[in-house]
Every structure is written in C-alpha cells, then in structure tokens.
Symmetry: C2
Subunit: 339 residues, 2 copies
C-alpha cells in the first residue's frame, strides 16, 4: 500500500459519511445526491508565504481555507453542502501537515453543516491548499450586480481587525524566530490581542447572514470583503453600475483595532479600508427594508452597520466631513502585493 493511499485512508477517517454522500473520499470522484435546483460553487487556493505564514499550524490553515470558501458561498446567500480538498506539500515535512489541514477544514466546515466529499494529494516544494465548495442558494442568489441608487450600504462585523491580527501574527512569528521568551504584545489588553489574532487566524464566514439575506430578499447585492473594503466595494459598484459613498464616521471601527492602531502609530480607518482578510459581507439594502434587516440580523446575533449609500455614477468614495476621497484602490491586488 502506497504512502499516498494510507494518507487518503486517514483523511477518509475524518469524515462521517452522511446519506447524501453516495460515494466519498477514496474513489476517482465523489458522488453526491442532489435535489433539483441551482447549485452554487466556488474555489479558493491558499499559498504558503502569500496567504498564510510559513509557521502557521496546519489545522489553522485548513480552517481558514474552508472559511474563505464558506465566505464566498455566504456572499451568494448559499448554504454550504460539501467540499473537495486538494493539498500539495513537501513530503519531507511529514503527513501531519496534510492531516492537520484536513482536520481543520473538516471541523470548520462541520460548523456550517458541510462535509468533505473528496480531494487530491500532491507533492510540492511548498504548502498549497485548494478547496472547491458547493452549496444551495437559500433564495434568489445574491450577486454583486443588483445595487440601485438610493439604497443603503451595509457591512457586517468590524473591518481591519484581521489586518491588525496579521501584523500581530507576523510579530509573534518574528519573536519565535528569535527564540524570545515573551512574545506578548505589551501595549494591548490580552482580550484585544486575542480578538485581533483570531480575526486573522480563524475568520468567521457570515453564512447565516448571507442565507438570511437571500431567503428574506433583503440584500439587492452582496460581496464578501476579502481583499479590502475599498477594492471589494469597487467590485460591487462596478458590477452594479453605481457609485458607493461610505461615511468615515459610520465605519464600525472596534476598540481593539483603535488600541492596536494607537500602539503602532497607524490610522485605524486605513486598516479598516484596505486591510483585507476580513471575510465580512458588504451588501446593499432598500431603505424601506432597513428596520426588517436590523431585526433579522439581531435575531442572528450578527452585527451589521449601515455605512453609506448607493448613488448614480461610478467608483467608491469616503466622505469625511466635507471632504470626499476615492478609496476604490484600497486593498490587495494579488499580483502587485506579496506579503
């Protein structure tokens, strides 16, 4: 029995097979029973040194790989069902690497009722994790293209925390590399540090919010904020053929982010606008639906904030008192920035 096959067996053992999964990991392809109706499908690839730090724990990488895909499904208003997981890794690092990644991805997906259906293992000079995720739209799928002038712009959660968390993780990683005893970040309260680190390391995809928005026909357009609020708002604006105006004073900047930014001599608003890795939902809502949205979001215990308005035109601006500023380029371009 090849080492590869033994590893597939171990990964297969992570999956408790639901009746919907007719053929699971270990054959040439998975076979899944499906009712009629639309299928939402997405894929994301995470690359070592680009999307995660080389010393991150495999289980965390797996959790994040699942989360970024779950976030895409959330942005379509789809309920996740099953996923395929491909892992390429340097075999000298040992099988705990792919097993940890698989454990993390399986556990994070199980939080949302979704199941590993199959995958692929390969050798590579560095760790690469690719997931393809399928689900079922909970209502009419949420696209990026339905926003209309006069509507309100909403954002879930607190943007910029993940960007702060990445900086803290890099700091911790540098401490470890120097073998320092104290890797704590002294200017932050432990609770704030944990909150920021966890926003980066273990983001929470807004699956329940997205499904609710689709089911209740509350969002006219939606996107998940993965590359940065500015860049992703611009994508929604471009797809919808509208302009988004975001009010600086309405941005939900958390006290943890403010504390981090103060200690680092950074502007928390800049982190919120261009930080990326937030995996929050940015969506547009008709003004008449605002009360119903507030009520439904509260029932789900998901923080949402109206941060601006849709108007005719193009682009994304930040309104700060009497001044306006173009923010559509704030965020990552995967081919210009390498972290």
């Amino acid at each position: 029995v090849k080492r590869e096959d033994r590893l597939v067996e171990k990964i297969r053992a992570l999956v408790s097979k639901p009746s919907q999964l007719l053929i699971g990991p270990g054959d040439d392809a998975a076979v899944v029973a499906r009712a009629a109706g639309p299928l939402a499908a997405t894929t994301d690839m995470l690359v070592e040194g680009v999307d995660f730090l080389p010393d991150e724990e495999p289980e965390r990488i797996g959790r994040r790989a699942a989360a970024v895909n779950l976030s895409d499904l959330a942005a379509m208003g789809a309920e996740p069902e099953f996923f395929l997981l491909s892992i390429a890794f340097p075999s000298a690092r040992g099988e705990e690497v792919p097993l940890g990644v698989a454990r993390g991805a399986v556990a994070r997906s199980a939080d949302y009722g979704a199941v590993l259906a199959g995958g692929d293992l390969s050798a590579a000079p560095l760790l690469v994790v690719s997931i393809a995720f399928w689900g079922k739209p909970a209502g009419e799928p949420l696209t990026r293209s339905g926003a209309a002038p006069g509507e309100l712009v909403y954002l879930s959660g607190h943007p910029g925390e993940a960007a702060a968390g990445l900086r803290l993780a890099e700091r911790a990683s540098a401490f470890r590399a120097r073998d320092a005893a104290d890797r704590r970040f002294p200017e932050l309260l432990p609770g704030d540090e944990r909150r920021l680190l966890s926003a980066f390391r273990d983001p929470e995809p807004r699956v329940a919010l997205g499904a609710m928005l689709a089911r209740e026909h509350l969002a006219t357009a939606a996107i998940d904020v993965s590359d940065g609020l500015g860049v992703d708002a611009a994508r929604l604006a471009r797809s919808s053929g509208v302009r988004l105006s975001i009010e600086k004073d309405r941005l939900p900047v958390s006290s943890a982010l403010v504390a981090f930014a103060a200690a680092e001599d950074l502007d928390p608003v800049e982190l919120a606008l261009g930080g990326g890795d937030d995996y929050e939902l940015l969506f547009t809502v008709r003004e008449a639906d605002a009360p119903r949205l507030a009520e439904r979001a509260e029932a789900l215990d998901v923080p949402v904030h109206a941060i601006g308005r849709v108007s005719a035109g193009r682009g994304v601006i930040l309104i700060d008192g009497g001044t306006e500023r173009d923010i559509e380029s704030l965020g990552h371009d995967h081919f210009e920035i390498t972290r």
Copy 2:
C-alpha cells in the same frame, strides 16, 4: 480597476455562457441550474516541477489539468458539465501564463461539452493549477469496489506511451536549455515521436468509454490509470477485495513504445506497468458481457483489450509464461518520487 480584475475579465471572455450557467465567472461563486439526481465531483492539482516541466506551454498545462479531471469523471462513468479553475503563478511571468492555462483548460473541456464556471487567481512562487470538475453519472456510478472473481480485466489504449513521452519531453527540454539546433530524437520515426509526446502532453480522457460502461452496466469496477498500471490496479483490487492477474502477453504495448524502449535500452513492459500518466481506464467486466463490450467499444472507436482476470485473494500479479510476479507497487507514489 485592479490587475487581478482585468485578468478575471479576460478569462471570463473565454467562456460562452450556456443557459444552464446562471451565474458564471466574476461573482463570489458560480451558480448552475441542475436537475435532480446524483452529481459526480473531482479535483486535481498540478504543480510545476512535479506534474509538469517548468518550460511547458501554459496552454498545454491547462489542457492536461482539464484532462486529468475529465479522466477521473470518466472512471466514474460521469458526463462532465462544469469546472472551477484556480491558478497561482509568479506575477512577474505575466498574465499570458494564467490566460494560456485558462484557454487550454476551456478548450479541452469544450471537447467534452463542459464549461468553466468560476475560479480563483493567486500569486505564488511557482505555477500551480487546480481544477474541480463535476458532472452527471451516465448510469449507476462506476466505483473501484465492484469487481468479483471470474470477471475479465480490461484496459483502454496503450499504457506506457505517456511515460515514454515524458522522457522525450525532458530530452527536448534539455536540448532547448543547451540551445541545440536539432532537438529531434533520431532513433524514432517522426510519427512515433509525435504519438508518444502527445500521449504525455495531451492525454485523451476516456469520457465516452466511461459513460458507455456506466450506461450499459458493462463495467463492474473501474479506475483511471494515472499513477501507473500496477499501483492503480492494486487500488481497484484493494477496494474490491479481490486479486487481479494480468498476462504479460496480453498487454497492449504499441510499436511506438517498443521502438522507444529499444532505442533507450529499456523494457517496454516495465514502462507500461509503472509509467503513469496514461489516463486510460482499467475496468472489470463479466465474461458473458465481453462480446457486447467489444461491440460497443468498437462503435466508439476506443481500443480496449482484455489483459487478465479477477480471482479471489488480494494484490496484483503479472503472469509471464509460468512465472508470477507481484506488480502492485509499480507506479508513482506522489510522496516518494519527485520528477
């Protein structure tokens, strides 16, 4: 507009959107209309320097990435419908790399009626291509686990040609590196050289054969030969809980492979048993169905050969006159061999 978004637009332009594709590339996820019934899904990741040579043309890499997934669907007896394409690449190489990969994958999939639904682009220090493909089983899905004693073992095509083609491609690559004027391989007829190179560079997934085997209930078990005839036969034997005996004299060794092996002082049978990258189907058939199989395969113009038998027991042996030899380890283990 970010460079990434412009690239997504260019890739989107490669796709002519069928009515079944409700939302295609460019949103957070693809949405596809589906009738009820099972869905077959598979994924494969190709890594530069491991699964393809660094100087291969991007379009060929894309074609092969599609083909290896199509081959997995073929081995399930599924008809391909849609795929998701993730490409990570060094941005300094320019966008012709991901565009070429996408063009190749789209063109190869179109040969089988399948369409690009979405994907992901990422930066990386080397080229990585991951595809997730799904389709509809043409009948009861073909698994690896249904073979029973007394049945015949069949193989499509001519194993070992791709392994010979890889060696020729490596040779050509080395010639190019030395800037030699003549990169031809002098001992081979040009037709044989083309045939072997093409078996490696542009394998033909046996989609029509797989779908026919499922639709006509002709195969009791099936697997695609990607890692090597020995290894993959052992996987089928293990899943089915049987022993496979393959007769050396029945192996369909092509004259092109014989010529290559003679020139290289290699044994063509060893290349056929352990070469890998064949993407042929290995399947088992009840003896009473052999005439019907021959007729249906001929109607599809796909060469199939009975190469052995299923018996009680375990493992895979090669029968050569009066001798028996264990061949279940002949082929790649992705974590022991790096090409």
